[in-house]
């Protein structure tokens, strides 16, 4: 891409927004209460989780509703070491990481031959199996009582410091994802979304590609899991129920699926609806449901899609191809291919 184009109005606005967001992220802890800071931390972790889901659901067009299984397994890995052994932070994170990636490998092997609506269904089953294990293996998971006694690393113990730690990790991961979706592998995923048969005809082993996708996506879900378990300092089967897997998908669709900024925005909206608006509005679930419905009806491509469409129409008609700094160019909603 030539440098002139990179300096277009759209790009400049995007850059300004990005810098603005970064600055806001840096100074935030000094202006808001520690409760809001906790919510922002949670939103950041959720955003990372939602991006990991979006890599599959948005880029590859394979909607997973079982990703909390990977996230949760990583959480339980950390929790088990912290709660049941005297392992230090390094061991906790290592075990959490290995656990999460193991789940990703198994999920990948199970689901790599499925596509379309059946992919959704097998991932639901995967998530529910992890939930079943979490409820069944009392000695490892503590079942309903969960695993207490998880503590953050000493030097990032306070909510204030943990926020910065999360911010840094999520930023690095976002950057990594930014590269991933532009890499050859990222392109192959987009091909999967377009037509799996076609991708196969071009010489891709689509099953292996999907397996590989689980590893890459699972990596980010695992990181999110490790961040989440230290944020909550607790893990329990509710972390892996169906709803926990559905939320990141909703976040991605709400914000704008197939983009990286979309899940980010969606995560903030949903986290604040669930945890902040709910403090003020008794019927917050109705409000959340209505938000989903209205977004679908009036911003079919999610919030990011709507804003970007408005921008291109009103402000920058010429600069059609580029959307957002963290945002892939395509604007068309992919229609998931299904079978009957």
């Amino acid at each position: 891409m030539n440098p002139l184009r990179a300096l277009s109005l759209t790009r400049r606005v995007q850059l300004a927004l990005l810098v603005g967001a970064l600055v806001a992220g840096m100074v935030l802890p000094h202006v808001v209460s520690s409760f809001i800071l906790r919510l922002v931390t949670l939103a950041l972790v959720s955003a990372l989780f939602a991006m990991s889901v979006d890599l599959m659901a948005g880029y590859a067009g394979l909607v997973t509703i079982g990703q909390a299984g990977i996230l949760g397994t990583a959480m339980y890995g950390v929790g088990y070491v912290a709660s049941k052994t005297d392992g230090g932070i390094a061991l906790q994170i290592t075990v959490g990481f290995v656990a999460g990636m193991t789940a990703a490998v198994i999920f990948g092997l199970m689901a790599m031959r499925s596509s379309g609506v059946y992919f959704i269904l097998i991932t639901i089953a995967q998530g529910m199996i992890i939930w079943g294990l979490a409820s069944l293996l009392v000695n490892i998971t503590g079942a309903e009582n969960g695993l207490p006694g998880i503590r953050r690393p000493v030097n990032i113990e306070s909510g204030f410091r943990y926020y910065y730690a999360t911010l840094v990790v999520v930023l690095i991961c976002s950057l990594a994802l930014f590269v991933v979706v532009r890499s050859p592998f990222g392109h192959a995923l987009k091909g999967l979304r377009g037509s799996e048969t076609r991708v196969r005809m071009l010489g891709h082993n689509s099953a292996f590609l999907k397996f590989y996708m689980f590893l890459v996506s699972g990596f980010f879900a695992t990181v999110a899991g490790i961040l989440l378990v230290y944020l909550n300092e607790f893990v329990n089967p509710t972390d892996v129920i169906l709803g926990a897997s559905a939320l990141p998908v909703l976040m991605a669709i709400l914000g704008g699926i197939g983009t990286l900024i979309g899940p980010f925005i969606g995560a903030f909206v949903i986290v604040f609806l669930r945890n902040w608006v709910s403090l003020r509005v008794d019927r917050w679930q109705t409000l959340m449901g209505l938000t989903f419905i209205l977004v679908v009806l009036f911003a079919r491509e999610g919030l990011v899609g709507a804003v970007s469409a408005w921008w291109h129409k009103r402000i920058d008609g010429r600069d059609g191809g580029v959307s957002s700094v963290l945002h892939e160019p395509e604007k068309r909603e992919a229609v998931l291919s299904e079978s009957g």
């Binding site: 906790r38 607790f234 329990n236 709910s278």
Partner: protein
Amino acid sequence: MRKTIRKWIVLAAVLALVAAACGDDSSETTATTAGTTATTAGTTETTAGGTATTTGGGADMFTELKIGVILPLTGGIAGPGADARESWELYFDTNGDGTTVTTSNGVNITYVMEDNASDPAVALTVATKLLEVDDVDIVIPGILASTGTAVGDALGERTDVLLLSPFSCNDDFTQRTPLEGYARPAGWSCSQTGKAFAQWAYEEQGYRDIATACTDYTFGYEHCGGFADAFTQLGGTITEQIWHPLGNSDFGTYATQMNELDVDGIVGLVVGGSAVPFVTAYSDFGVKNRAPLLAGVTTLDQSALRGMDKEVALGAIGHSHWSEGADNPSTKQFVEDFEAATGKIASYYAAGNYGAMEWIVAAVEAMSGPEWTPDLMLETMKDGLVVDTPFGQQAMDDEGAMVFNVYINEIQEREDGKLWNVPIFTYENVDQYYGRDRDEYLTQPPYTKDFQGTGVGG
């Protein structure tokens, strides 16, 4: 920047402490100032938590106390959550102006209530909000054991907050691995009531062979374990233990299995939405005709009875520290008030929250001093305080667990046709080790699926 702020805070704290120390031996007017300063020092010490203590008008008594209540107002157990909410509103309406209750010694108690959506992760976020934004002194951590555990764990290191839970009944919270700064006013230990129930079954009914059918998780293990352990110690036999999964709703399979048992009675425990289908299956499959249902607390609670068919539940035997039909003045009063306010017969969840509030008020009224601290309040509660709650008279043991009456209830039809629990036998002053020596008891492992008392199984 942040560091500078911190430096200033520390500096201010040191200055304040010095000022406070100076004030100790000064005249009364200075003492007031000193008191205020000392409070500031307290705030700085726990920058995040804060404290309720403010000395107003120079009295030697703290004046404000704030309670943070976390309840499941949405999600799977929104029913009990609604009862709990209504009981808080009832207490503050009856004894105050709806938002504030003023104790006889002039302390204004207020409360903030938040929804945890029946989810421990949300409960944790809400707990942060209550502590950081609302600056509460006491946290009531919801109804589910999981939310209780999560919040309890998060507050474990906070010395400035008191955790009071009328519902999280895990034995070890007040036994082998007690939680710091924790008590369960108007609450109970999961295995506590079953011990008295076993005595009733063995001695009063002459039952010798009993089977259990409890929910397959900690509450079920401890509840059934309490019964099984005590029953076998008395000389009875536990012939079979069926465990059904949490949240199960089709009990056909288990009812069929129960039908094959040749026992004097079956001890059943289910929670939440499982209660109605469990009791219905027990009756409809004819298990009822072979062995009476001996149910635990949540199984025949009002929150379940309201949705239950009459014929199904009538005559079932339950046991609990709560009995809405009990002939106590305090129980009667509460049930009457609650029904007048909500049109519902009070459930165990309503009584628990109301009782917890009565405990808090009683403790505050027994306290004195310029500063409220969790330790002081806990000590006051444990120090021979006897409180008239909807459950009847209750006291707290040294470990923060309750000593109370256990009622053996029968489900009867009230004059207006509604079902309710009416006591047919009462065990008074049941403590959490009922009938056992504490030290000997604590050498046992906690009750799990594999350990249901020394006399059960192998």
